[in-house]
């Protein structure tokens, strides 16, 4: 029996009697982060990082939660469990599982670049590494955050000169908080959609020092938005809610914006390939840095990425999980509150295609 097995309820550690990010209700769930495809309702008990706790409470309501710090060792039936920063969003963690000298690490979602608020990803040495591969193709290599922020700021400045409202689309948990500081440098007021405002309030109450935002409400005169920045989640894109902004220019922040076709499909005025996932080089370096003898790849371009790992001499295999995409096509997400019924386009599936002549 492997230390962690792939069951129809999710990743299961039998020796420790717990699941990691299960997609069905279980007795004990270890949660990597608060995105809806990783943190699902219905389990008896949840273990998560301190910073994830308020987000889980917001999303799943009262429950039996056990918050822990990074590197804090918890023992469950002789299995030692600890969480380590994953750099994906606030509170996001990798899960290290050790039993009788054998170490497995479940990455959850992660990115290798430090974004200033999500903790700094650190590769954890292990025997077996289970890694995501959302952007596991070499066409996905991100520009440094500073450069992308500058592009976004230039875009906002140009909109200001043209008397436009800059509407920036990004996920209510993660992208929205990550952008705030850079936005504050170029705009007086940052307006935000209710879903983002909810997360923001929760984080403020938890003691996070974030730049102030103002919730978009029907009472605000439309003209006050002009020249300012509005933050909105993907589900608001193209909805009636968006029509209130005078001369809106829409910019989407998502790793998928790396490819022109995707950007054109979304009909945005601008696309910024700003992602909370590791890019191709980030994934490769992380996998190598763990020193793992065996790597399981899931979620994204798992077929291509695992095949490549095998070719460079790393024992890899793909696994099917039900982690979807908070980033693109998550089903109705309670975090998004009042934006039901307007689901964004589905995410690209894994690129399992064989190759064909050009």
């Amino acid at each position: 029996m492997p230390l962690i097995s792939f069951t129809d309820k999710g990743l299961y550690c039998e020796a420790g009697q717990f699941y990691i990010d299960p997609w069905q209700p279980v007795d004990k769930a270890v949660i990597t982060h608060a995105h809806s495809d990783h943190a699902r309702a219905g389990s008896q008990a949840y273990l998560c990082h301190h910073d994830t706790l308020p987000l889980l409470q917001l999303r799943l309501g009262p429950n039996h939660y056990q918050p822990v710090a990074w590197n804090e060792k918890i023992t469950m039936n002789e299995v030692t469990v600890s969480l380590h920063p994953a750099g994906h969003i606030i509170g996001s963690s990798q899960v290290r599982v050790e039993y009788k000298g054998e170490v497995w690490v479940v990455s959850g979602d992660y990115k290798t670049e430090a974004d200033g608020i999500s903790g700094i990803f650190e590769p954890i040495p292990c025997h077996t590494f289970i890694s995501e591969s959302t952007f596991g193709l070499p066409i996905y290599n991100w520009k440094p955050q500073d450069e992308l922020f500058q592009e976004i700021q230039n875009w906002i400045r140009n909109n200001q000169v043209a008397g436009k409202t800059s509407v920036l689309i990004g996920y209510s948990l993660g992208k929205a908080q990550r952008l705030l500081k850079a936005l504050g440098e170029v705009t007086g007021t940052i307006y935000a959609h209710g879903a983002i405002w909810n997360v923001h309030e929760t984080l403020l109450q938890a003691g996070w020092k974030l730049p102030a935002i103002q919730r978009v409400t029907p009472e605000i005169p439309k003209e006050s938005y002009r020249g300012h920045v509005v933050l909105a989640p993907p589900s608001a894109d193209g909805s009636l809610w968006m029509r209130r902004f005078p001369s809106a220019s829409t910019g989407i922040c998502s790793g998928w914006m790396q490819v022109r076709g995707h950007q054109r499909r979304r009909n945005a005025d601008a696309g910024f390939a700003l992602s909370d996932h590791a890019d191709w080089n980030g994934l490769l370096q992380s996998v190598k840095a763990t020193g793992a003898q065996k790597v399981y790849i899931t979620h994204g371009f798992q077929s291509a990425f695992s095949r490549y790992l095998i070719e460079i001499g790393i024992s890899a295999a793909e696994v099917k999980t039900e982690f979807g995409e908070e980033e693109e096509g998550a089903p109705a997400d309670p975090l998004k509150g009042d934006e039901e019924g307007n689901s964004p386009p589905p995410p690209p599936a894994g690129g399992e295609d064989e190759f064909a002549p050009l």
Partner: protein, 564 residues
């Protein structure tokens, strides 16, 4: 709007540059394309283009006019060569490149994304150097390289890849591989030019038409009257019609209108000037050599004659199925066999120049009279007047239109008898009134990922009809669904794919679609025995199951009825 100077001038005007744009170099051209590509508003596109024309260097402007009017440079290297060199440069296996290519849906972009980007700091420290070479430098270099040894091509391309930014590299690849397209109408470009030079859009449209070499023509020359006078081959911009929008009675008196059949062939202009004959297609390709039949006109037509007409497969007084012409379109050399098997005729629509005089401003009835006189005097069986369809009231015309398909016509054209021959696509005086397409219900059996804005989505489908208990694929169709429907079908394909053949998935035959098409012809290249003209999805029949689809016999019946 930029201010207009009082004198006729080809000088730049002073439009402020947008922040971040670099003057000159490939970057400003790439920036232009980016703005055109992301803007959904015509006015913004116009601004972007006129802003570019106001600041770009003279040679680049000429190339932009050439590129935007379909004068693409020929490809200097093959897609496979580019793919191989790219994988060598970045040290990745070819299968992974292919994987990326199928996800991106565009070779040029795949390469642009795979080559590592120079960091921002390198850009700024190198200063002026990073502005790079201008557009014309690259395009003209491609022309020189076309016949150069492979090693020389490779060296230049690899160096350029590493020097250029990702966005510029994408444009570079598009130009290099002969796949450059731009979603901007020629009309818009002409209007943008009209803002920077003191000329009427119609005049500009005419001057930039025809046969000129972007490498050796200057901007001033191109837009001057002189070149128009010395280039005897120069065609007039075609007048194109929109589809009829209102009910017929809205058009007014039937007597004010001339009705003709709408023919499905190659729209062209036949020009005789200075003892030379030129045949132009609507896409402004010179196709004189492709139709040796017309060479006799070199002696027969008087100098200073320009006829607008349709080149059709034609034999013994009958217009044939367009499919007949397919066999010789695209051939480099036309053989005797082609001439026999795919004979052509010209159906003359209009006369644009008579005795060296531009008569486009005359009323259609006057031009038609002159055209009739000319064509009848030729006495050539393969040069026909496009017949005028006589009718007394709109109801009668509606009945006549029903017969279109029987004579291999695709409907009717309505032209106001008092209309001048205008420039480009216009509403008001000319309308096309096409017959409804043929349709057939079919089930989707294969799917493949699309390109462009459909990258990484399964949007290209193959459809089948029933033949007993077998399914026979008979056509592909790529268009006709909304983005939302494409997303749903994409999700279906991902859940229900059976096998993979390269990038193609076989799909559980479950989804039924109505396929619309303009014509049908026998084909021995297709398993089904038929080839469709302009197939597309007309709607998703969620109310039907694969049991309800049409059969191969239904297709064959259509072939008998309409495939001649």
């Amino acid at each position: 709007m930029p201010e207009r100077t009082p004198n006729i001038s080809l000088e730049d005007t002073n439009t402020p540059l947008e922040a971040g744009a670099m003057v000159g170099g490939m970057a400003s051209f790439a920036q232009l394309l980016f703005r055109l590509g992301t803007s959904t508003k015509t006015n913004e596109k116009l601004e972007a283009l006129s802003g570019y024309f106001a600041h770009a260097n003279e040679k680049d402007k000429v190339w932009v006019i050439a590129l935007f009017s379909g004068r693409r440079p020929r490809r200097a290297v093959s897609g496979t060569q580019l793919a191989v060199w790219c994988t060598e440069l970045i040290g990745l296996p070819m299968w992974l490149f292919q994987e990326c290519y199928h996800t991106v849906g565009d070779l040029s972009e795949t390469i642009a994304l795979l080559i590592p980007e120079k960091s921002a700091s390198t850009h700024s420290t190198e200063g002026a150097h990073t502005i790079g070479q201008p557009l014309h430098y690259y395009v003209e270099k491609f022309q020189q390289l076309e016949k150069a040894p492979e090693a020389e091509k490779k060296l230049f391309i690899l160096q350029s890849w590493l020097e250029l930014s990702s966005r510029d590299r994408f444009v570079f690849n598009k130009l290099l591989s002969g796949t450059f397209r731009v979603g901007v109408s020629q009309k818009l470009m002409v209007n943008a030019l009209a803002r920077t030079v003191q000329l009427e859009p119609n005049t500009i449209a005419h001057r930039i038409s025809g046969n000129w070499d972007p490498a050796s023509t200057t901007f001033t020359e191109l837009l001057s009257e002189q070149l128009t006078q010395t280039d005897h081959s120069k065609p007039y911009p075609f007048y194109l019609a929109y589809a009829l929008e209102d009910a017929l009675p809205e058009l007014g008196e039937p007597a004010d209108w001339q009705a003709e059949w709408k023919w499905d062939g190659i729209r062209g202009q036949i020009i005789k000037r200075n003892d030379q004959l030129f045949v132009w297609s609507r896409g402004e390709d010179l196709i004189t050599e492709k139709f040796p039949e017309f060479s006799i006109l070199q002696n027969k037509l008087p100098n200073g004659t320009v006829i607008d007409g349709e080149i059709l497969p034609y034999h013994d007084g009958q217009v044939l199925n367009f499919n007949v012409l397919q066999t010789r379109i695209g051939r480099k050399n036309i053989t005797k066999k082609h001439l026999q098997e795919a004979p052509v005729g010209l159906f003359a629509y209009d006369l644009l120049e008579l005795n060296g005089e531009d008569i486009r401003h005359l009323a259609l009835r006057e031009r038609r009279a002159a055209l009739e006189e000319l064509v009848l005097s030729l006495q050539l069986p393969f040069i026909q007047l496009s017949p005028v369809v006589s009718f007394t009231d709109w109801d009668e015309l509606t009945t006549i239109r029903e017969q279109s398909r029987n004579i291999n016509s695709e409907g009717l054209m309505l032209k106001r008898r008092s209309s001048a021959y205008q420039v480009g696509r216009r509403r008001g005086d000319w309308w096309k009134w096409k017959i409804d397409p043929l349709t057939i219900d079919a089930v989707m059996v294969y799917a493949q990922k699309g390109a462009g804005r459909r990258s990484n989505l399964y949007t290209d489908y193959t459809f089948a009809v029933k033949d007993g208990d077998k399914l026979v694929p008979f056509t592909k169709a790529y268009s006709g669904l909304t983005d939302k429907e494409f997303a749903q079908v994409d999700a279906f394909v991902k859940r229900n794919s059976l096998e993979k053949f390269g990038p193609v998935r076989t799909v559980k035959p479950e989804l039924v679609f109505e396929i619309a098409f303009e014509g049908i012809a026998a084909s021995n290249r297709h398993k089904s025995g038929v080839a469709l003209r302009f197939p597309r999805i007309s709607r998703w029949r969620t109310d039907k199951t694969p049991e309800d689809i049409n059969t191969l016999d239904d297709l064959k019946k259509m072939l008998q009825l309409y495939g001649k």
